[in-house]
Structure formats: structure tokens, C-alpha cells
Amino acid sequence: MPPARELHTFLPLTETTYYILLALAEPLPGYGVMQKVEQISEGTVQLGPGTLYGAFSQLEKEGFISKVSEEERRKLFVLTERGRQLLKTHFNRLKIMVRSGESLAQ
């Protein structure tokens, strides 16, 4: 199996990806992610089902999220360790971005 792509090649994350990964810190079904993202982004990010489906496929393929259970029609997804790493790395970048723009906020 070829080595997984280095994390830094996925950065920076889009808002969509960032919020999906953040939402999946705990296991959730697809629709649950949609609701949670709207909530934690304070309404600034809404995910359409087309976008969500595409993101899930890609994130699962790259090993950032994985399926937890497949009972009937309720598939749960959750962040993997690799996904957690990616998220933390991006979050640190965001912190630097916010700090650098502090002067604007005044």
C-alpha cells in the first residue's frame, strides 16, 4: 500500500472541510453533521447534501474519517487519528491568522 499523502499537502482546509472534521470529533450520521456544522459555525456555514456527500467520500478515501457502524440506514462517521492531526494543524494556522489580524479589529 503506498504511503499516505503528507498532511501539509491538504492545507489550508476549506471552511467546509474544517467544520465537517470538527463536527466529527464525536460519531454522527450525515444529516447530524449538517445540523451540527450550522450550529457550531454560528450560522455562517450551511452545508448542502451534495457538498456533504462529496466531502464525506473524499475524507473517507484519504483516511481522515471512518465509518463507525452500518446499522440499517444509519451510518455513523467519526474523525480518525489522522483526521484529528490534520484538524489540529489547521487550527494552529488559524490561530496565527487571527493573531496577525488583531490590529484590524481595533
Binding site: T14, E15, T16, G30, Y31, M34, V45, Q46, L47, G48, P49, G50, T51, L52, Y53, G54, A55, S57, R73, K75
Partner: protein, 178 residues
Amino acid sequence: MNKDTKTIFKVFTAWQDDREEVWLRDMARQGWHLVKPGVGKYVFRRGEPQDVVYRLDYYSLWNNDEKQTYYDLFEQSGWELVGELVGWQYFRKPARAGEADEIYTDSESKIKKHTRVIILFGILLLMMGLNLINIGHMQFDSEVGRAAVTGLLSLAAVLDGYALLRTWLRVRALQSLP
């Protein structure tokens, strides 16, 4: 003549999906709701005028497990599947103020949809190209026959190439948006 249904013949190309969505919404506002999409043909049934948003998605390759997950996600977020047509999925949802009415909420995923269309056109073009090359090796009853087949296949290839170009231009336009 049944006044409760109506059939309209109209052609929208793959790169005019946004116009098709607008037209279907207009029809709904006039009380005509899509029963079944067809190639160049739309069947509507009469109902209450309602502001309904239509969105078209495109997926050509599936494994059955994924298809159910896909449909479930749409259904759970309030989108009704009207029908499927050569890979094009027709969804609709009543328009409500403050509610997202897009199935693709960022340009990156929207672009991916059109990229899937481009890939299909590309594969078809490749197949036509290979066939055109093969014609030279094939037996024909007459040279007129050979010329006719070559002509038709070339025409199809040109049209496909044009479709590919127009869809690519649509991707370009989407890429220039924030």
C-alpha cells in the same frame, strides 16, 4: 385531452442546468409540477402554485451501497427526488425564507459536479476517436457507406467536443467566483 397533465418538449444541455432549474421553478410557481424528466421532454401535473426550488445533480458511476447513502442524505435534508435521467438527479424542495436552497454550498464541490460531466464527455470522445481510427480497418460494402459512417461519427465527435468545451467554460466561470 387531460387538463391535469401536460408534456413540454424542450432541450437543456448539460451546461445549462442552472437555466433548467430556473425554468422548473417558474413552472412550479404557475402550478405545474414535474412528474418525470425525459430527454428533451418534461411531463408536468397540475397542482397548487408553489415556489419550489429544483436542483440538478450529476453522478454517473455508482456502487449501490453509496447510492442509498446519497439519497438518504438528500431526503433527510428535505429534498425530494423527482427522478433520475442518464446520471442526472432531479431534486426539489419548497422554497423557505432563510433556508439553504442549494445542494452545493461551496464552489469547489459545485465544480466537481461539472468535472464529472466533463469526464463523461471525455470518455465518449475518446471512444468516438478510437472508432474513427478503426474505420480505416473495417470492411464496407461501398465507399459511400464508409464516408457516411465517417461523416456521422465525426459530427458526433465535434458535437461532443463542443459540449466538453462549453462545460469546461462553465467550470472556469465557477472557478473565478470566491
